[in-house]
Symmetry: D2
Subunit: 359 residues, 4 copies
């Protein structure tokens, strides 16, 4: 079962609460022989780090990962890679007022009901801090994908109603990291940033969409019938905090087209079978077809707001609750590397599975 | 790994190709003591059956399930329930022309590439016929849910651009089965039917949206952090043929609202903690909160159309391909019980998992 | 969880009771491209079949396997292989007297207590008839192993106190199938047979030891730390009905030697690193080292005897019980192919796992 | 797959090498509401600790466990329990000579061949130091078992040929911890100790048998057909370093008895159905029957000896190798809590599984 484990061959298990001693995880099933580029892994963590710009939370967390095992002379040994990230800048006092109150649309109520106990400090296990461990797993997965010339690039394509209308094929994705909102179109990016600044001033929060493109996937990844590649990707994305929807290829817009319009006709391009269009999003019958894989992930606004909201306490008495401390008005810029990490975990796992497909 | 198994405790494994001797499966982990209502199971299969109306494929398949084990005196014994559904009405000749040609947007190409071999008759394993086995698993899951007063009801809410705008709370879902399109609003249903008739005449296909509502789920189902309840539901839905997107609660529309607008405020209603609104879709922090769970599933148009399309053959030579035989112009009416079945499998599995949550 | 599934990549799931309609299973994860030699599979089933000689049960079961899926033009497609074996010669009346009585040392009592219900006919799910499905899985596994030049050969090395003292290295294992007891030494075989005849006359039963040798295993199979190759083999063997013990290499006799005596010294033989002795049984640190793997499996006498035994009924009243119908006085000759099958499942699964060990 | 994870519901994943920064693990699936008695957990670690007596290795390791998550106010929260044990007293120089040489019967050769790389310092991942993490998992499992009045007690019953002939029913197991060899019979214990002292003086090593008794197991644990309770126990024990064999109940000696002699007759004792004898070892049909569960585990002598042995280096050149540093002449006294821990993991996992057995 192991609900804190993701993957079947390349398996990431995470642990840790926001205000405990440390968070961390174990990667089991990483093949031996991989050079572990620690600078790259740490850099991926920086991309998720709080306080990275004025539109994110101002919490200061170092998020320094310490690898404890599975590596010898900088090379993976095939044994589990244990790692921890210490919790240093926790201000648990900011959460004392939540001890007996449930924040609307947060996990406070359901955690308490499910387990009969909850660590209310910083959201405990429900805190998005947990995703730092996913970044570590995803970064190692990316190092493997590098060797296969597979690249994963996510970006913010919508914040509230501010939308980047252009498809990814018309964007210069290498510009994504140049803006603090991680939108590759400078003009839209600036609009998004201004909007988030305004939202923050009002003590409110806003959601949006992260789009992701995977290039270079070989043909054949994905397992019929339940572990279709997009089903794995969908689960991966839906497991990220605040995600409300997932679509790939033409996605929900598929319903506006007829089969004759949406089918991706096969062509022979320089002795390689390709599709003329790519409404399928690089996956047909649950299996990668060699075209670009692309998908969208919808994030709701963060539940914790700085405005006063009605709620109830653990005894069912009416009360109010108001966010304290340092929270994100919009998680999207920091969620970009998380989306990439989860995608990387899925692709590596399926790459390894594919090794058993044929005799 | 077992990519043809769904679930962790209540596990459905399916086998079978469209034109083989039989399809079927094994349900492992069904608790003992359940009265197996065979009439109900068979009736669920009828809802998915081809040829049930003039807007579905005209193939005649009996889809009669035979239970082979795991039941004694009509009661489940706790042992695996093996079952088969024979393939009787196969016309493999209808598929001879596909032996060496890849249908656009179908699984022909990817299956061939992944495995180096494929059963081209009727789509082989990629055929939606496989979902009949899911219906059997789902029907047994529903029998368990009945005992917990949990009900699952799906319906067609959109076909092409014809959309049922009303939310489920304003619909009489008990009317769903009254129309052959399985849309509970008579007027919209008729429009959808007319539209599908037109699509069929043109030898084309069309997709749409199935919405699903789960009522009566106890608080506490779903497992942080990777096996969030909606992540399990999303994977379940995305594993169904032709599905391109999944959203739950406010879904993709969440991005149009601020946190202050979208948060579900807690209230005390007759000594029960409830939420005033339900944008969360009954799931918070990945765990059911006792409110209705609702979600949408987007289906693309069926890939096989009766029009001639450009394609290539296995040697990469340009050719054309045209659907023969008996195909669905729109899978949605038959997919309604499949969506329900997959949802039932997820809920039962999580109900059983929940038994281990606390000491 | 799936307690009726064995294996991680090459997965066998079985279903079926002794007196139901059929038993069978699904093999998920069989690589595509394997020629499925049906004659070989059926022949393996004959080796386990009841009534094969006068020292086994005289029940007549055809044990004819029907493959339902996963194969196209006799080649595996990479999709699940569903199969059934019909139950034809069941005489349920022979078991009416067991409806409310617990046979000593049988599964009657524990099944009833665990599940609150049990199919008492022929032992239901606890019947060794279930192992016929394992033979099918094992036979397909053997077909894969053939391609790797890996062979598995089990034989009866002890019945009661009649023991084959020679190690396997001094035996001609190709003679195993020549005797109905499946002991490769003719003289000992005959003693065993006479002894079983005598045991049967007394309405009693007897156990013994099956030894098994696996030749040709490549270096590197087995996964630290929990899935050591011998741990997988041990679990596989202990899951067979009536097995009470497992040892590999020097096994329990290891305790009689000092490290200096038992260590297998490495030597270089024609540019290949080998061990001079093989007390390790071909596995070091849980991983195959290329030497022969060998192990012993201890079987207790069959629980069902033809003598009257004291027992209690379901209400706890003292009573007696006596076997009726057709039972084995000694399961060992029929268990030889079961031991081989389970070993084959383990080795194939680990062969496929090994494909992910290195980058 | 996750070969470093043990268990299905209560899952222990371990990481770490002997000479890395730390070892540790994650326990996922521990129910919420358990008071985590840290003194007990630490005490269990002391029982495994090196240097605890003059007959064990003289290495000094503190083996202090730090719990990093999953606990709030000393109570488990239902979230993963991450923990580490730092490696402090490593003397890697003692292992420089092993960089290119394979110790006979150790994991050096197979690890190198399987992964193409190995951490030779202190045996790396193959070091029994890994079992300290199992002790942590097992100790937490024992805390759960305490609540069910289930107790597990292992003891050394044989060292070389010095054997404790009495069955456990005639021993006072509470005396086990009184002797440094962990044998409850004082006289035999002293003989064992003297023998180990002699073995050590000769730079040699010796193995033996650990017996284990589980009392208080409820009826019904264990899952047909592959996850029989004794199959789970067997795998657990065989996954411990140096184990060569496992038997339960009458075990290998079953072969010396007829069915009429070995069957455990049922009796009614004060309105409770019991067995008169217990050759079954508390498990029938793979399911616990409420009687004591007992089993034996055979350990070979430690591979690393202080005598010079012939071997080869990584290039296949003949050489010699001799243990340096601080090694155990006999692992049995320190392995007693490991056997108990693995047994506890199995029983807790099956207790939780049993919650899903019936409707």
């Amino acid at each position: 079962m192991a609900a804190n484990t993701f993957g079947n061959i390349f398996c990431l298990t995470t642990f840790g609460e926001s205000h405990g001693e440390a968070i961390g995880g174990i990667i089991d099933g990483c093949p031996s022989g991989l050079k572990l580029d620690m600078a790259f892994i740490q850099n991926e963590l920086q991309r998720r780090k709080p306080g990275q710009s004025h539109i994110t939370t101002q919490r200061k967390e170092d998020d320094e990962v310490k690898i404890l095992s599975g590596v010898f002379n900088e090379i993976t040994t095939g044994h589990p890679i244990g790692f921890i990230i210490e919790n240093n800048n926790q201000k648990s006092k900011d959460y004392e007022h939540l001890k007996e109150v449930y924040r609307p649309s947060h996990a406070d109520f359901t955690y308490q009901q499910k387990f009969g106990i909850r660590d209310y400090r910083g959201g405990g296990r429900s805190s998005a801090r947990e995703t730092a461990s996913r970044i570590v797993g995803g970064a190692i997965a990316k190092l493997i994908l590098n060797q296969y010339q597979i690249s994963i690039q996510a970006y913010v394509s919508q914040v509230g109603t501010i939308k980047l209308e252009k498809p990814y094929t018309e964007l210069n994705l290498s510009k994504t990291e140049e803006s603090i909102i991680r939108c590759p179109d400078e003009e839209i990016a600036n609009k998004m940033i201004s909007y988030i600044e305004e939202i923050r001033k009002n003590g409110d929060t806003i959601g949006g969409i992260i789009s992701c493109v995977i290039k270079g996937t070989p043909i054949g990844l994905g397992e019929p019938v339940f572990d279709k590649l997009h089903a794995d990707l969908g689960k991966a994305m839906l497991s990220i905090n605040a995600v409300k929807g997932f679509e790939y290829g033409a996605g929900f817009s598929s319903i506006n087209y007829k089969g004759s319009e949406l089918n991706d006709v096969f062509i022979n391009e320089e002795n390689k079978i390709k599709t003329k269009t790519n409404f399928s999003g690089g996956i047909q019958g649950g299996i990668s077809n060699g075209e670009d894989i692309y998908f969208n992930v919808a994030f709701k606004p963060v539940a914790t707001i700085m405005q006063e909201q009605l709620s109830v306490d653990m005894n069912g008495n009416a009360t109010t609750v108001q966010g304290k401390g340092r929270h994100d008005p919009c998680v999207l810029p920091r969620a970009v590397p998380i989306v990439e990490s989860m995608a990387a975990l899925v692709i590596v796992d399926n790459l390894l599975k594919q090794r058993s497909a044929t005799l």
